[in-house]
């Protein structure tokens, strides 16, 4: 069997350039079945070609010795990486829009040279689902990008339409639910005219309820089943309402945040709806999330709900790589390791319909991390990050600052190295 695979490689070897080939040798590798095993991984032209016990000399120019080290898929984060530099400075923050809401797609604002992108690469992140934060009733469209060096990134999307449901300063959540129903019915009824004249259509009085034709078209994608509705929601009863709404509208649904999801875990599982959450969210920050608990992820897993984890504490998106800390803590709380690791890699791909990423298997994009120890541990370092089969520069501003202030004290600051 293995012999046949190697044979099948031969035509490929003939046509590929050895400098594009990577052989990652002997790493303790996280496999799609959830186990770790010592494997060799052959990468060529951006893809994983083979994951085998022992791959001999196939002429790969780049060999990474991963003996005694851990190899996992590159982390996929749920963040605003590259869309903002300093969140409190609006001029450096492209996550939001007042012009559009449902139709807002921030992906063109992505800056691969953001210092936050560099840091997250150095910490094992290979790609992000971009979370928009438009100010209207809908926050915009989810998209996906690799975060490799340079100007060119592989992107996918739109992946979903983001909104939130629950406590509100200006109206009852019951009214918001009615509004959603009316709006969706309106979009469905009027889809044939393509919303041609809808440049400033107001439903209700507040700016939040302002829609353009672009926004309506985005909503139509949800109604047509092209993309799911992603709802940020906390309270258990709200989750039930949203599940019911999605069923009645016959649309796909993803729950986000979902602090009280554990209380209605069986209903979520029955509806086959996935949840994006941070297992560390145990503070009852609002009256909608009084039942926040460390056990949210555990109970959802026991009910059979598919989960993706992201890090929502502290510095948020800038430290999106700390999804490993969220996942590690979930293991400490009792979640099995494979589920935790999948929740920061392949589960994001499955939940958001991403093609060809998130797993170490032949045919997948070669996005992978070599770690010097257990990837979920706090003191583990990243040794290599491959994105689309290219070994990435792991330099970052935090280590450049460290270097500048530790190693060259004899020089005045501004004469110290810039590298």
């Amino acid at each position: 069997m293995k012999f046949i695979k190697i044979l099948a490689l031969i035509p490929l070897l003939v046509f590929s350039h050895a400098e594009d080939m990577y052989l990652i040798k002997g790493g303790i590798t996280f496999l799609p079945d959830g186990s770790f095993a010592k494997k060799d991984i052959l990468v060529d032209e951006g893809l994983i070609i083979l994951v085998e016990d022992n791959i001999g000399d196939v002429g790969a120019e780049n060999i990474i010795d991963a003996n005694g080290k851990y190899v996992t898929p590159g982390l996929i984060v749920f963040s605003s990486l590259g869309l903002l530099e300093l969140s409190s400075l609006p001029e450096t923050n492209d996550t939001s829009s007042n012009i559009y809401n449902a139709g807002f797609d921030p992906s063109k604002a992505y800056n691969p040279f953001s210092q936050a992108v560099r840091l997250n690469r150095a910490k094992g992140v290979s790609s992000t689902v971009h979370v928009p934060q438009a100010s209207g009733y809908f926050s915009g469209l989810l998209t996906y990008t690799k975060i490799n060096e340079g100007y060119k990134q592989k992107k996918q999307g739109p992946l979903g339409l983001v909104t939130s449901f629950g406590q509100s300063y200006d109206d009852s959540r019951a009214a918001n639910l009615l509004f959603m129903e009316d709006l969706f019915n309106y979009v469905r009824t009027n889809k044939d005219d393509n919303y041609a004249d809808m440049t400033q259509f107001m439903l209700g009085t507040a700016n939040d309820y302002k829609f353009t034709s672009r926004d309506f078209k985005a909503l139509l994608k949800v109604l047509n089943g092209e993309i799911p509705l992603v709802v940020k929601v906390s309270r258990a009863t709200d989750i039930l309402n949203v599940l019911k709404f999605a069923e009645s509208q016959q649309i796909d649904l993803i729950l986000w945040g979902a602090a009280e999801a554990h209380m209605v875990a069986d209903e979520i599982a029955k509806a086959d709806v996935p949840v994006v959450l941070d297992p560390l969210d145990n503070v009852p920050r609002t009256f909608d999330s009084l039942n926040s608990t460390y056990e949210n992820a555990i109970r959802l897993d026991q009910a059979g709900v598919k989960m993706a984890f992201y890090y929502s504490q502290g510095a948020g998106s800038h430290n999106a790589y700390l999804a490993t800390q969220s996942a590690g803590n979930s293991v400490a709380m009792g979640l099995d390791y494979a589920t935790a690791m999948r929740s920061i890699t392949s589960n994001l791909a499955e939940i958001f319909g991403l093609v060809g990423v998130g797993s170490l298997a032949p045919g997948y994009d070669a996005d992978l991390v070599v770690w010097d120890d257990d990837p979920l541990e706090l003191m583990t370092n990243v040794e290599n990050l491959l994105v689309d089969g290219m070994d990435q520069d792991l330099s970052n501003r935090y280590e450049e600052l460290t270097e500048r202030y530790m190693k060259e004290k004899e020089l005045p600051n501004s004469y110290r190295s810039r590298e």
Binding site: L86, S87, T286, A315, A332, L378, M379
Partner: protein, 460 residues
């Protein structure tokens, strides 16, 4: 008129209390002008009473003593609320034995920057009591007068090994008011939570926050901030002179500032940028006071030597950054560089400023330790444990009572399921003054009144 009526009240109360109250101001100078400080402390003094202390010996554990040491197969004995001994094969007749094999024991974790109680959960306008953002100088307000004793966040911190925390006013103002050090115990009144004999503190804030909040009325610049501090200190000097002429004069804004000038109240200074911290040190020199601790200090590593020379602690995050301009120059090695400055004489502290982070300060220390080693420092786990225990105790002026496992200190002790620098480790038991406050195995922990009726699902 009101003032005249109040004064006898304070005096009478104090006389009644003074016997049972030790002065918090242990360094109080002879003939201090601010005699009202001691009086006010009497009125608002701690009434904390520990739960019934146990007589316990933990056997054969790995022990971080908080002084920088790590001991294998050690025993820890505490009774009557105090550490009795730590060592090999202790004799502890009559003590309850706990098998510590495979477990780790540390002093109780101390967070010297918390807003629990003044920004409680749930976060709503009606209990958002951390910033008296009505004037850039509000040294007259005391955080303890905002603290909500029913905040459901305390027990979450307790499960993370937090036995003591310092509640500060927010950073909207140049002078935000007095902070208060609390034991992490359940109580219906704030004095019952107050750490006995802990010095009062004064929150000051540099940089973006005050100049943003007061941009229309001033200060609106960093130089405006500095003028604001200096004017206030001059006012405090004038107040002290006035007090010489009229010892009964009351001015609660200046009483706090004069308490700093007399060395009785510790300055805790929110400050991110290195150049601003250096300016704040200059202001301290101009008016003759010392800063206890800079908080947040994302750029502390740039002046690590200066901080070590001045004997100023820096309370820092492991890795927060990027949420504002003055938090841009982050390095995860910040804590380690501050710690290792001047041959390891620096005073580094891991703080949270956050209701989530406070639950895992040990993990934050682990990340900072890893970055320090990656930067080339040889730092032991024992040393990193001082960032969570001894150093915050020193910063708060409570090192004589807690922060290490030295004999005779308060038995604030955490038993961990494994190495506290591992992500898989949990606090299993937490003792405060030798009394069990948290037990993971039996789900024993305090529940505030607010918790009642919540989490009905827990029993289902």
């Amino acid at each position: 008129m009101i003032k005249k009526l109040l004064l006898p009240f304070f005096t009478v109360f104090l006389l009644g209390c003074s016997d049972q109250t030790v002065s918090i101001f242990q360094n109080e100078a002879e003939g201090s002008f601010t005699n009202f400080e001691e009086n006010l402390h009497g009125t608002y003094a701690s009434t904390y009473k520990p739960l019934a202390p146990e007589n316990i010996v933990i056997r054969n554990a790995t022990v971080f003593d908080g002084n920088g040491n790590k001991f294998q197969n050690f025993d820890v004995h505490f009774s009557d609320g105090k550490i009795q001994a730590i060592g090999l094969r202790l004799v502890a007749d009559g003590a309850q034995e706990i098998d510590g094999t495979g477990k780790f024991v540390t002093p109780g974790i101390i967070d010297n920057h918390s807003h629990m109680g003044v920004y409680p959960a749930p976060s709503v306008r009606t209990s958002s009591d951390g910033n008296e953002a009505t004037n850039p100088v509000t040294s007259e307000v005391w955080a303890e007068h905002s603290v909500w004793t029913q905040d459901p966040q305390y027990k979450l911190a307790l499960a993370g090994g937090i036995t003591t925390f310092h509640v500060l006013p927010g950073s909207a103002n140049l002078f935000g008011g007095r902070g208060v050090t609390l034991k992490n115990v359940s109580a219906n009144t704030v004095p019952e939570m107050k750490f006995p004999d802990a010095p009062h503190s004064l929150k000051m804030a540099c940089g973006e926050n005050p100049k943003r909040v007061y941009s229309s009325r001033g200060p609106s610049t960093r130089m405006g901030n500095v003028a604001g501090y200096r004017n206030a200190w001059i006012g405090a000097e004038n107040y002290k002179e006035q007090l010489e002429r009229d010892p009964n004069h009351r001015d609660i804004r200046n009483e706090t500032l004069a308490g700093v000038l007399d060395g009785e109240i510790l300055v805790h200074n929110h400050c991110y940028r290195a150049d601003e911290m250096a300016t704040m040190i200059n202001i301290g020199e101009e008016f003759g006071y010392k800063i206890s601790t800079f908080h947040h200090g994302v750029e502390a590593y740039k002046i690590a030597d200066l901080l070590a020379d001045e004997g100023i602690c820096a309370a820092l995050w492991a890795d927060w950054w990027g949420f504002k301009h003055e938090a841009y120059d982050m390095t995860i090695a910040n804590i380690a560089i501050v710690d290792q400055a001047r041959d390891g004489t620096g005073c580094a502290i891991v703080h949270s400023d956050d209701e989530s982070g406070i639950q895992r300060l040990n993990q934050e220390a682990a990340k900072a330790l890893a970055a320090g080693r990656r930067a080339g420092f040889e730092i032991s786990e024992g040393r990193a444990m001082t960032w969570l225990t001894k150093n915050p105790a020193k910063s708060l002026g409570i090192l004589e009572q807690t922060g290490t496992l030295d004999i005779g200190k308060d038995a604030d002790v955490v038993i961990w399921s494994g190495n506290p620098f591992s992500i898989y480790t949990k606090a299993e038991q937490v003792y405060i003054d030798g009394a069990l406050a948290f037990d993971k195995a039996t789900n024993f922990m305090p529940h505030t009144d607010f918790d009642l009726g919540v989490k009905e699902w827990e029993d289902k």
